[in-house]
């Protein structure tokens, strides 16, 4: 029995290593590329011959990248904030109230989430030009909010439904107005759901490429993904590959940090202890 359990363990470990290696390989490669200074990318080996921070210096001294980074952070944060607040109200109504057309709202929201982004690019491009939203932050924030709302509403309404009705009723009996009950009891209890929705919305806005490419043209609003594509090296004679790799590492790091930071908040069931059982 012990030998079979050892074999089991070994099998699990081998499987895990294979999957991790497979998923980590591209990331490892980009990391190693970003540390290859000068012409080192042609050294025909995985690791750099000499570790160098040259590429990072290059990207941070490049105006195109730093403004893009600023635009990315601003657009992603604002669209996340607006989207999650809207989604919170909508999801609360969907979870708690009975009203005609509830099913319709949910299914339309789902349909919007399924809608291919590419199909919207050219109509939005034409529209935004005529209403002067082209190449502005709001021009990106508005479509981002509408694309992240459905998913946020679905996630949050599932979380709100999990919160026992009694919590709210107890608050009401204790003297809370409906708004106080929502703000002081329901929102804190749904915090894991709010974080989950916020992170998903942030990732969408952070990584989005086709809209960001089509609806921006200058450093005024261009975000990192399209900026990376138009990236050149330190001089026009140098291949930009290593610099792009360094820039990619820079924009991936915040995402990883956020996930690691909030992982426990997302997983932890905050409602434990509210009610018996």
């Amino acid at each position: 029995m012990s030998s079979s359990s050892t074999r089991n363990r070994v099998g699990w470990i081998v499987g895990a290593v294979i999957i991790i290696a497979y998923t980590m390989l591209p990331i490892g490669w980009i990391l190693s590329l970003s540390f290859k200074g000068g012409d080192d990318i042609t050294n025909k080996q995985f690791l750099p011959t000499k570790w160098s921070l040259e590429n990072f210096r290059t990207v941070f001294s490049n105006d195109l990248f730093t403004t893009a980074l600023r635009n990315s952070i601003g657009v992603a944060l604002i669209s996340t904030l607006i989207g999650v607040i809207f989604a919170m109200f909508a999801a609360y109504a969907i979870a708690r109230l009975e009203f005609p057309g509830k099913k319709l709202i949910l299914s339309v929201a789902l349909a919007i989430a399924m809608f291919p982004v590419v199909a919207l690019v050219s109509p939005l491009f034409n529209m935004w030009r005529s209403v002067h939203l082209f190449d502005t932050w709001p021009g990106l924030i508005i479509p981002y909010v509408s694309f992240t709302l459905p998913l946020s509403i679905w996630t949050l309404s599932a979380f709100f439904r999990e919160i026992p009705w009694e919590m709210e009723q107890a608050a009401q009996v204790d003297g809370a107005t409906p708004w106080q009950a929502f703000r002081k009891v329901i929102v804190p209890l749904a915090a894991p759901g709010v974080f989950t929705a916020a992170i998903l919305a942030f990732f969408f806005a952070w990584n989005e490429y086709p809209l960001a490419l089509a609806l921006t043209s200058t450093t005024k609003a261009k975000t990192v993904p399209p900026a990376l594509a138009s990236f050149t090296g330190a001089s026009q004679f140098q291949s930009a590959t290593a610099a792009i790799a360094a820039a990619a590492v820079v924009v991936t790091v915040p995402v990883i940090v956020i996930v690691l930071l909030f992982q426990r908040r997302i997983v932890a069931g905050l409602t434990s202890g509210a009610v018996k059982g």
Binding site: P164, A171, Q172, T271, V275, K276
Partner: protein, 424 residues
């Protein structure tokens, strides 16, 4: 501090289901009233209508003389303990108890003082900085009570607060609640399906059945003078025995025995052939253990005992019998309403623990027939009650509820009467 008046209150849901039907009840200031009944009888709905979590379809609800039908729960100044406690898991125990005070904008010092006071009352002082998830079921229950007592509410409402606790803890908390209520003297409405809680806690108990109040009385009144079969079967554990019986002149014939019938009752029931006799298990005794002087006042009879259960302080014997089909059917439907299911018609007899009766024995039992109740099998009414008695506690009369003082006086009066009958 306030009295609660429920006037012809009904609750009809959107689909036409009537959960509470024309209920009237006066709850005096400082009184402890229990709403009891089998599941689905509307007791929780009634409580939720009082607190304002459920709309009142018809009728008036008055708290302290003011109509509050349209008031939001927060404006009624009542506090409630929920069945699953409904503590706020993201707040510490201190903040949980302080929550109602914070909403009212009470000053920080005052909050601290009052939270610590109620925590001390409930023995929660050492847990104030912990979260609800770190507490045991009984402690969480006490936190829920702390949140209820911390502000000066007009009344406490309890919705089956002990049903999530294990049996031992339930007994302790029951005493705690009783002591707390007596000390604070605050009007309390308590919903339960547990008849032990109903009997031990309440000044008065209202028995509900299908949204209608069947009887409002003191626990003793319910136990000794139930108005109908439903109340008789619901109150008491083990339940009252219902035996088919028939009247022959001035004797009453039961499955195992016949006994003389008082003339007054005999006259009243003469026109009915078939009746149901309600006898509590403890009104029987092992004939061998009854003193001779007492023996003459009752009837002795021989039966075959099927099963016995020895519990240390008492002993139950089960005696099966056959009943006519129609009585059997009406008893079966009664059982169903009482949430229980008896497989066979059998009589439960409580005898002294010292009794030597064992399984399968032919035993001689003794019964005091004076405490027997007679019921009409069709209507279920108790025929033993004098007419005035029955009218003093009719199922849903608007003014049927006496004041708390009268109710307490009633208790002592019955006590005295009972003591007198025992002496004679």
């Amino acid at each position: 501090m306030a009295e609660i008046t429920i006037k012809n209150v009904s609750k009809v849901y959107g689909d036409g289901y009537s959960a509470v039907d024309n209920v009237s009840l006066d709850i005096a200031d400082g009184e402890f009233v229990i709403l009891v009944g089998p599941s689905g009888c509307g007791k929780s709905t009634l409580l939720r209508m009082i607190v304002g979590l459920e709309d009142i379809t018809e009728g008036d609800l008055l708290i302290g003389g003011q109509r509050v039908n349209e008031k939001a729960p927060r404006d009624r100044n009542l506090s409630m303990v929920f069945q699953n406690y409904a503590l706020y898991p993201h707040l510490t125990i201190f903040e949980n108890i302080a929550f109602p005070l914070r909403l009212r904008g009470v000053a920080q010092d005052e909050i601290r003082k009052r939270v610590e006071e109620s925590a001390a009352t409930l023995d929660l002082t050492e847990h104030l900085q912990r979260k609800p998830s770190q507490l045991s079921g009984g402690q969480r229950q006490r936190v829920a009570m702390g949140r209820a007592i911390v502000r000066q509410a007009d009344a406490f409402l309890f919705d089956e607060p002990l049903s999530n606790l294990d049996a031992k803890l339930r007994g302790q908390m029951r005493t705690e609640i009783s002591r707390l209520q007596r000390r604070l003297g605050i009007t309390t409405v308590y919903v339960t399906h547990d008849q032990t809680e109903a009997m031990t806690l309440g000044d008065r108990v209202a028995v509900l059945r299908k949204g209608v109040i069947e009887q409002v009385s003191t626990p003793r009144g319910l136990y000794e003078h139930p108005v109908n079969l439903f109340v008789a079967g619901f109150i008491g554990s083990p339940p009252m025995n219902f035996l088919p019986c028939s009247v022959k002149g001035d004797t009453l014939e039961l499955p195992f025995l016949s006994c003389p019938l008082g003339r007054e009752i005999a006259e009243r029931v003469a026109d009915r052939k078939l009746l149901i006799a309600g006898i509590r298990p403890e009104h029987f005794e092992d004939a061998a253990l009854v003193e001779d002087s007492k023996k003459e006042k009752g009837v002795s009879f021989r039966v075959k005992v099927d099963v016995t259960e020895w519990l240390g302080n008492s002993q139950y014997a089960y005696v099966p019998y056959d009943a006519p089909a129609d009585i059997k059917a009406s008893l079966a439907s009664l059982e169903k309403e009482l949430d229980s299911e008896q497989l066979r018609t059998q009589m439960i007899v409580s005898v002294d623990a010292a009794s030597r009766i064992r399984d399968g024995d032919e035993a001689e039992l003794w019964l005091d027939p004076s405490r027997m109740q007679l019921f009409d099998p069709q209507s279920g009414h108790n025929l033993t009650l004098l007419n005035e008695e029955r009218e003093s506690a009719p199922p849903s009369s608007p003014t049927g509820a006496p004041s708390s003082a009268a109710a307490r006086a009633g208790t002592t009066q019955t006590l005295a009467e009972d003591g007198a009958t025992r002496k004679t």
